[in-house]
């Protein structure tokens, strides 16, 4: 954790010194807005990763819930339409969780299959983008709370409440414990199944929320959105030190990972690096970040 803070400070320093665009209000607001999707997905992903699982389906859930929320407002009040869409996200999470925990299937394949199926369903719901005419639909994505976008506030709220949930509630501790040793948890009379299902449902809820927010922010919902979103979410968790084997990882550090990714993108953009060189550099920077982190971890033990 400590090293991540150092890294972030260094990155911010580099950016502030090397570009004049970085410390402008507009750029900082962008930064805050642009990390919302990855941030929400990363929190849900972290919960699943803590149980020793993985959720590859989040990108498809973003697409599905986005397009459904935009579609439903033709018939339903906006908040209800959005709630239904998020509920659909939770529903997908529940199915993932039941397949993983109830039927003991590998999370990677279950959620890979879900990725495919849910993407298909998004297109089945609407082949074409849906652009709601009611401007109320956009307010979630564009409202500001003082200088900070509402969506960013929501993301912070999810991280704070989520952090408390994971560290201070019995269910949260059970999720950590399951990733450490599921058998022991079972023997302690705690239902492993229930908590694993809960973890996937949380991931589904986060993805659903992210989907609704994204559609509202962009102002148009597309069934093709969200491809490969899961990779950034997973990367954020792992940069934040989470172990894909489960049981290790923290909300604060995962948020650090989200920030690192957002800063890398921002840095490359502000420097006007060409798109494919951006890709080359992004990969190299990620490796550098986890190398530095690993070094510092080793020194500590």
């Amino acid at each position: 954790m400590g090293i991540l803070v150092v890294l972030l400070v260094v990155m911010v320093g580099v950016m502030a010194l090397s570009t004049d665009g970085f410390l402008t209000e507009r750029n900082l607001t962008n930064l805050l807005k642009q990390m919302v999707t990855t941030g929400l997905l990363a929190f849900g992903m972290l919960v699943v990763i803590l149980t020793g699982g993985i959720d590859l389906s989040v990108g498809s859930v973003v697409a599905f819930t986005g397009i459904v929320s935009a579609g439903l407002i033709a018939d339903l009040p906006i908040p209800v339409a959005m709630a239904v869409a998020i509920a659909a996200g939770i529903g997908f999470g529940l199915i993932n969780g039941i397949l993983v925990a109830g039927f003991n299937l590998a999370p990677f394949v279950v959620t890979l299959a879900a990725l495919t199926t849910i993407r298909g369903l998004a297109f089945v719901y609407s082949e074409v983008p849906i652009s709601p005419s009611d401007p109320g639909f956009f307010s979630l994505g564009t409202a500001m709370v003082g200088p900070i976008p509402l969506t960013t506030v929501i993301m912070f709220a999810v991280f704070i409440v989520g952090g408390i949930f994971l560290s201070q509630t019995p269910a949260g501790r059970a999720i950590y414990a399951i990733g450490g040793n599921a058998e022991t948890v079972r023997l302690a009379g705690i239902s492993v199944r229930k908590h694993v299902v809960l973890a996937y449902a949380i991931s589904g809820a986060c993805a659903g929320l992210a989907g609704v927010i994204l559609a509202s922010r962009v102002g148009i919902a597309q069934p093709s959105v969200g491809v490969a979103f899961e990779l950034d979410a997973i990367a954020a968790c792992v940069i934040g030190g989470a172990s894909l084997a489960g049981g290790r990882g923290s909300v604060r550090a995962a948020f650090g990972g989200v920030l690192v990714l957002a800063l890398i993108n921002n840095l490359l953009n502000l420097h006007g690096v060409q798109s494919y060189w951006q890709q080359v550099l992004k990969g190299l920077i990620i490796v550098a970040v986890i190398l530095v982190q690993r070094r510092s971890q080793r020194r500590r033990t």
Binding site: T19, G21, T24, R26, N27, N30, K33, Q34, F123, E127, V128, P129, S131, F138, T142, L214, R217, V218, G219, I220, Q222, S224, V225, V227, N265, N266, L268, N269, L270, G272, V273, Q274, S275, Y276, Q278
Partner: protein, 304 residues
């Protein structure tokens, strides 16, 4: 499953019935290509032709194998909607070997033999947009370009090059290419525009390689309260874009690249070929410019 015994609306040619046409889509992951696929199907239904449509999910090899699957299913002709593909030699070779006619829609391949092509002139649309922007901005200024990507997407390249050829020679204009791609979607257009606005506050206009990205960019501009300063030019004629243009806001122009029209013409062309008619090899479909003046007309047309 859509061929039926009852006579069509009269336009149905007796010989067309019972025919099967395969459609090989490179991707259906975007509204344009989607619309193309739907147009072909709709036209086929009205002509009593069966359509088998496949989706390669953006994978050139899968396109080749989908074409092979279509040949296995003994289709009479194949329509290829190649998306950004430069060429598909393997698919064209198998079709040639199986003596099946190939109609290309939208995308003209650089190499390989095809029977007929129907599509837009993407460079021309870019030029049109550029010329319109030049007229709107007599004092010139900074114009941003949002590309769809990836870098090998030559449809986008043609559009951007068209715009550049129209604006680039005029020293009043400074062109700013966004460093990252909008991936042809509204979400990408939004994020790219946000980044652009952070470093270029003085933009006068933005051109996107398609309307979907423009719609996202328009929102970013609105969020930044710059709608009165920055005008927007797109390509495609996506319904939502037409509606924005009709409103008379800062979305000022697009060039029609009608998936519906091209798709329908593509199916007709396939039938003509199967009927043994002599057809034009390459057909460029007009891309009328759409502005506030004529937007409603195109909206009505697309809703009918």
């Amino acid at each position: 499953a859509c061929s039926s015994d009852k006579d069509g609306d009269g336009s149905g040619d007796g010989k067309a019935k019972g025919r099967t046409v395969g459609v090989a889509n490179f991707t259906l992951g975007g509204p344009y290509f989607n619309g193309m696929d739907r147009a072909i199907k709709a036209q086929a239904e009205s002509k009593g032709v069966t359509v088998i449509s496949t989706d390669a999910n953006g994978d050139a090899a899968k396109l080749a194998s989908n074409v092979e699957d279509l040949i296995s299913r003994k289709v009479d002709a194949v329509i290829i909607s190649g998306g950004p593909l430069e060429s598909a030699p393997a698919a064209l070779n198998s079709l040639k070997a199986a003596k099946i006619p190939v109609i290309l829609v939208d995308r003209k391949f650089q190499t390989g033999e095809y029977t007929s092509w129907i599509g837009p002139d993407n460079q021309r649309i870019g030029v049109q947009d550029g010329e319109f922007l030049a007229k709107q901005l007599p004092d010139g200024g900074k114009v941003a370009i949002i590309k769809g990507g990836p870098a090998d997407n030559s449809i986008g390249l043609a559009r951007t090059n068209g715009l550049k050829s129209a604006l680039g020679k005029d020293s009043k204009f400074t062109l700013v290419e966004a460093p990252d791609f909008g991936n042809w979607g509204s979400d990408g257009g939004l994020a790219v525009m946000e980044s652009l606005l952070a470093s270029h506050k003085d933009l006068k206009a933005v051109f996107c390689e398609n309307d979907a990205m423009c719609l996202g960019a328009q929102r970013a501009i609105a969020n930044a309260n710059l709608s009165s300063q920055i005008i927007i030019a797109g390509v495609d004629g996506q319904l939502e874009a037409l509606q924005e243009i009709a409103k008379g806001g800062n979305y000022v122009v697009t060039g029609l690249n009608s998936a519906d029209q091209i798709g329908r013409l593509g199916l007709d062309r396939a039938i003509e070929v199967l009927d043994g008619k002599n057809v034009e090899k390459d057909t460029v479909v007009d891309s009328p410019q759409i502005t506030k003046q004529n937007a409603q007309e195109f909206i009505d047309k697309s809703k009918s």
